[in-house]
Every structure is written in C-alpha cells, then in structure tokens.
C-alpha cells in the first residue's frame, strides 16, 4: 500500500477501505502540519486546524464530492489555508469585543452589532476584479499561471511551489516576478484598473 498513489488510496477509501485513510494521513501529516504550523507558530492551534482540515477531507471524500483537479496535498493545504484565514477573522472580532466590554468595563452596542458584510456594490466590484484577473492570467505562459495560482490563490510558500513544480526557488521567484511584470503590461495595454 506504501507504493500506491494518493489517487488510488482515495479511491479505495471511498470504496470502504479505512486503512487507506490511515496511509494517506501518515504520508502527508508532516508536510501538512508544518504548512499549518509555520503560518500560526502555535502547536496546539496547529493541531486544531490539522484536525479540522482532515474532518473536511473525510466528509468530502465520504460524500463523494472530491474532484481530483490537482494533487491531493495541494487540495488539503488549500482547505487548511482557508481554515487559518477563518481563524484570524474570528480572532480579530473577539479582540474587538473584549477591548471595550471587559478591559474598560464599558458596554458598547457597536461591539455586539455584526460587522456589515460587503454590500452588493462591493461584491460586484470583487467579482469584476476576479474576472479581470482570471482573464489576464490566461494570457500568461502556463508556468507563470501555475506559480501565480499556487502563490496567491492557494497560499503556498516559494519553497513549496518549487517542490511542487520540481524547480529551484530561484526559478520560482523568477517566474512570479515575470508573471507580475507581464500582468502589469497587460493591465496597461488593456487599461485595466484592479483596485477598488
């Protein structure tokens, strides 16, 4: 089973072989845990995020919703990355409440009112920015598209991108640099402005 690919293990797991999950976890636990830890620098919290990441993976696989578009580990890291972002968002809201309600012992109605989410106009602008960005990405060479997606959409470090693409860190840095230069050129040529 050690020689089996992730795809084979996933298929066997989805067909009821629980041992395959154990192999999958053991194969990727170090890489995934370190990915989480070096974003949080907190071992306990990293264990929590690691657990939540695999719960999402288990549920998605069991429900048959997994679509293999990329490597399993990249998908797992994307889930972990999103959970870390959720954690920071929640943390920033909690700090805001404690500052006035506990430390100064003052109650402010603004602390319990939910922060306004993006209004329709903001959402439309965000969608427009994403659409423009994706259209521009298609114009880049494949290797530059790949590094931009891994770096800015999946949140991977340059070292991880280098490992994933079987290149050196310098090559990765070069590709990201040229990709950004090319994106700026495309923006100038097409008079695209991405900021709000």
């Amino acid at each position: 089973m050690k020689t089996q690919t992730d795809s084979q293990l996933i298929l066997q797991y989805q067909n009821g072989d629980e041992n395959s999950l154990s192999y999958l976890i053991n194969r990727h636990k170090k890489d995934l845990f370190n990915f989480i830890y070096y974003k949080l620098m907190d071992e306990d919290l990293s264990n929590d995020i690691f657990q939540d990441t695999f719960i999402k993976i288990i549920v998605t696989l069991k429900e048959g919703r997994y679509k293999e578009e990329n490597k399993f580990i990249l998908w797992a890291k994307r889930i972990a990355h999103n959970l870390i972002i959720d954690h920071y968002r929640l943390q920033s809201k909690n700090i805001k409440i404690s500052e006035t309600s506990f430390e100064n012992e003052e109650f402010s109605i603004f602390d319990i009112i939910k922060e306004p989410e993006n209004n329709i106009e903001d959402k439309l602008i965000d969608n427009q920015i994403n659409e423009d960005l994706l259209k521009m990405l298609v114009m880049l060479p494949d290797n530059q598209q790949e590094v931009i997606k891994l770096r800015f959409f999946d949140g991977l470090s340059f070292k991880e991108i280098a490992d994933h693409t079987d290149t050196s860190i310098n090559t990765t840095l070069g590709r990201v640099r040229y990709a950004l230069i090319n994106l700026r050129k495309i923006m100038e040529e097409h008079k695209i402005i991405l900021t709000k």
Binding site: E18, L21, S22, I25, N26, K29, K30, F33, N34, Y37, Y38, E43, S46, N47, F50, Q51, F54, I55, I58, V59, K62, E63, G64, R65
Partner: protein, 45 residues
C-alpha cells in the same frame, strides 16, 4: 562547537491523539443516499 541551527525549520508532527481521533471519526460515520441522490453523513452508532 555546537552548530547554530536557528535558521533551520523545526520539523513538527500532529499529536497521535489527533490522528487516532480522525481515524475513529472516519470509522464511525457512514454515507446514506437520499431519494434525490444526495449523500448525507450519519453516525453509525
């Protein structure tokens, strides 16, 4: 002389209890298909 490894990344692992929990969690849930072919997860217990 002791090697200065402050720049070396510390390799960490998740706790064994977490792995055990995940494997047990996986064993204790099962998928049921609804009439409209939607999969739902339920506890085996």
């Amino acid at each position: 002389m002791k090697k200065n490894d402050t720049l070396t990344k510390k390799a960490l692992m998740p706790k064994k209890e977490i792995i055990d929990f995940l494997l047990n969690y996986s064993k204790n849930i099962q998928t049921l298909k609804t009439k409209n072919r939607k999969a739902i997860l339920v506890s085996k217990n």
